[in-house]
């Protein structure tokens, strides 16, 4: 077998990422210099492109789509603000050169902004509907790092959805994270990771967990950062019983 025949044999395995680490590194080094292998790997990927759809779909949890939109759109906007002033200067020059073109562009931009705002309004209306229909509001104080914060749950018993508010907490210590739990008849069931904004607040909507039986309450813990399954391992910061 020539050296290149070895690569030819491994192409499909490389494309589906089943090569062992050493073989993969060898292939990585070969690939930039071999358009033939690159083309064949692209072909394998295209032919198997729909294979992931062999797995059954899963309906998103309530609030998931809203979180995706918010986080994806917020990400690129932060650095964009640093360019606001130069961009404004450039825009002024462009305006001087062609006001009618800028007007058209502004119109399109406003249209996109309006569409995004409509999406966010719908998400907020969804959130408010849960709060308005909440049969129970539970609250617990949370003391963390010398700060006094809180955990509030608006439980809508018609839709079986909760709006969970966490506020006034410091950032989780390095290597740790805040974790929300359901207290069920069968024990603790992991809910969402609690990701705070820079002011130490967050709010999320959650449905009831698919396992664990009757939900009896909820808890907030501080968990080791790398662990995302299994029972609670860190200290309990708050717990609430229905």
């Amino acid at each position: 077998m020539t050296a290149h025949e070895w690569f030819v044999e491994q192409r499909a395995d490389y494309a589906i990422r089943s090569l062992d680490e050493g073989d993969r590194a060898t292939f990585d080094a070969h690939l930039p210099n071999c358009p033939e292998c690159r083309a064949e790997i692209d072909r394998v990927e295209a032919e198997l492109a729909w294979l992931p759809m062999g797995l059954k779909p899963v309906a998103p949890r309530p609030g998931f789509s809203r979180r995706v939109i918010q986080e994806v759109l917020d990400e690129p906007r932060r650095p964009a603000r640093r360019w606001l002033m130069p961009a404004a200067l450039a825009a002024s020059l462009l305006l001087a050169l062609g006001a009618w073109l800028a007007g058209r562009q502004q119109s399109r931009s406003l249209e996109a902004e309006l569409a995004a705002l409509q999406g966010r309004t719908a998400a907020l209306e969804d959130t408010l509907s849960i709060m308005k229909g909440a049969a129970r509001v539970l609250q617990a104080n949370v003391r963390m790092g010398g700060q006094q914060g809180g955990l509030v749950i608006f439980a809508n018993e018609d839709t079986h959805r909760w709006n969970v508010v966490v506020h006034g907490l410091p950032p989780a210590p390095a290597g740790e994270r805040y974790q929300f739990w359901f207290i069920t008849a069968d024990g603790m069931v992991r809910g969402s990771e609690v990701r705070l904004d820079p002011k130490g607040h967050t709010m999320f909507t959650t449905g009831m967990p698919p396992v664990g039986g009757t939900v009896m309450g909820a808890a907030l813990t501080l968990e080791p950062g790398g662990v995302s399954s299994g029972p609670p391992r860190g200290p309990t910061l708050a717990h609430l019983m229905l």
Binding site: A46, L48, M53, L55, P57, I69, V72, A112
Partner: protein, 209 residues
């Protein structure tokens, strides 16, 4: 395609009609994503999330991690989407590939960090178990059914190897250790299985591009 013309195809459409509709939708969504149309992102999330969550959750067996991975995939597409003329890869294949790669990265980190190979997922997670049409499966059910049939048509030993390699992110050596068979046998099974799948799924190629 104007925005108001986008519609959800019904479950049960013929594959050609469903594929054509999906292709038009993707072309339109892609153009609008390139133009930074945020409403297009909303529609893409609505369209793709059930399938991406199904993929990530089937691989990771963890709802929170699956959501993180899908979030990363949408972020990647939003930041890197290019006009259709720049490459033949459709939005859904792109999203699924990013999601699968991120899930594999997490699975391998998880195994390195927490588990010995012998402890890692000792039972098959049956991610490929049969399922029934539901709301989350619209659109895309036709493709799911065909892919599922193609996987079911594989001999059991080849299907098991595909499950481990493709949907659980195990490498050749890990599969050999896990199944207690020689490395060469693993490679042979995977080669035969993916050869058959590539042939069987070739009919979906037009929809991809």
């Amino acid at each position: 395609m104007p925005r108001h013309a986008i519609r959800r195809p019904q479950v049960g459409l013929s594959r050609d009609a469903s594929a054509r509709d999906s292709s038009l939708r993707e072309a339109s969504l892609r153009e609008r994503l390139v133009a930074r149309d945020e409403q297009a992102l909303v529609e893409l999330v609505d369209l793709a999330s059930p399938w991406l969550l199904g993929l990530a959750q089937g691989m990771l067996s963890d709802q929170d991690e699956a959501e993180d991975v899908v979030m990363e995939a949408f972020r990647t597409v939003w930041q890197n989407v290019t006009p259709a003329t720049d490459g033949p890869t459709g939005l859904m294949p792109y999203l699924m590939r990013v999601t699968r790669h991120r899930a594999i990265d997490r699975l391998r980190r998880r195994r390195r960090r927490e588990l010995t190979l012998a402890q890692a997922a000792p039972e098959s997670r049956s991610a490929l178990a049969p399922t029934e049409p539901n709301e989350a499966a619209d659109p895309g059910w036709g493709v799911h059914s065909q892919v599922h049939e193609a996987l079911e048509a594989l001999p059991a030993d080849q299907r098991a190897a595909v499950q481990l390699a493709y949907f659980e992110g195990f490498t050749h050596s890990e599969i050999a250790a896990r199944l207690g068979i020689p490395l060469g046998t693993v490679k042979t099974r995977l080669r035969l299985a993916f050869g058959r799948l590539r042939t069987t799924l070739a009919g979906l190629k037009d929809w991809v591009s």
